[in-house]
């Protein structure tokens, strides 16, 4: 399906020279539900990877993924951006933040009744080793990589995921996080540094593996 989506998009680009996503959205607006299905399939993996690593369980990630698409479908008439993936990621980021705030308030109410001080935003976001990818990744290395990503501070992790999963430019990431581009760059910089530290025992093997893949046959 993914290949199919890419193939259709490519054909449309070649024919008209226009953005294939815009054409798919126009087709959906014209009543072709399958056109939106192609977009859902195209962004299924990167979007779910972002959401899955920003929430605490697979069930929660499923809920957020559905909520994001429902919001996107309802707001589609207002969509005027050039980058559909960036727009989708903005909705996903805001949904994750809103959900975390809501959970934080609920935690505060609960802890308030027990005489506690209330939970921080970080306490309702995934803790190291709790993210769904950690359970689904094959092999020990995959688990260690998932755990390292999960251990990143929330904002750094969001920048890192938006950058590597959706290939968003820093200008757009800064806009989504409502920070300066220098702050977004600094967050990515810290994320890379921290991942390098957390995966120091695996880094050499990963670098060698990459060199092996790049070597011409």
């Amino acid at each position: 399906m993914d290949e199919n989506a890419r193939g259709k998009g490519k054909d449309m680009t070649e024919v008209s020279g226009q953005n294939p996503e815009t054409q798919l959205l126009d087709k959906y607006r014209g009543g072709d539900v399958e056109a939106l299905g192609i977009l859902v399939e195209k962004y299924r993996k990167p979007l779910f990877a972002f959401i899955g690593n920003m929430t605490r369980s697979h069930a929660e990630a499923d809920e957020v993924f559905q909520e994001v698409w429902f919001k996107a479908i309802r707001k589609l008439a207002l969509y005027r951006d050039k980058n559909f993936g960036g727009w989708l990621m903005r909705i996903a980021h805001n949904t994750v933040i809103d959900r975390a705030r809501k959970l934080k308030n609920e935690c505060s109410l609960d802890s308030g009744s027990e005489g506690g001080n209330g939970g921080s935003l970080g306490s309702v976001l995934p803790a190291p080793g709790q993210d769904p990818s950690a359970h689904t990744a094959a092999g020990e290395l995959g688990k260690r990589i998932s755990a390292a990503v999960a251990a990143l501070p929330h904002e750094q992790k969001a920048v890192f995921l938006m950058r590597i999963e959706m290939d968003l430019p820093f200008k757009e990431i800064a806009g989504i996080q409502k920070v300066s581009i220098n702050t977004a760059l600094a967050r990515m910089h810290y994320a890379v540094g921290k991942l390098r530290t957390l995966l120091k025992n695996d880094y050499e093997a990963l670098a060698a593996q990459r060199l092996e893949q790049e070597r011409p046959i």
């Binding site: 299905g37 299924r44 479908i73 008439a77 769904p132 880094y203 990963l206």
Partner: protein, 169 residues
Amino acid sequence: MNCEQWQHQLLLAESGELADGDRKALDAHVATCHACMDFRNSTRVLSEAVRPVLRRGTPSPSTLAAIREEAAARVGGTRMLVLRPFVLQIAACAAAFALVVGGWFFLRSGESLAPDAIHQVGSLLTMVSEQHADGTGVPAVSASDEDARIRALARELLRMEGLGFDEVL
């Protein structure tokens, strides 16, 4: 520029947000700086290692089915919303047209009435000033409609001055 700033430039270069001129300067620095070269390699190695691991999760079939159902249910509503700006544009054009036509008629009627109104006010003022100058009253008026209108206006003005029209006559 320190290495952290160069590394920010490296990140911008990787995302395609660095100008060609800046890229040349960056390449020249990285070629001689071990720390920045290492950072560039780290970014690439980690991104490529992390991406396939994180993408192993997938939404459940029921979630995808629910999205499909929502998309099918909303497609009509979306079309209506898309039409809305077009309808608003038509309405705005119609309102602008009505405004222009109405304004044109208003100005045209103003032009045709204005000389007559000025003439009537001038006559009235002359008549009133004559009444006050010699106290003999207004000149004899004709029975025409125009004169009757002037007499009515003069009567009103004199009443406001505290004089009765008949007294002046």
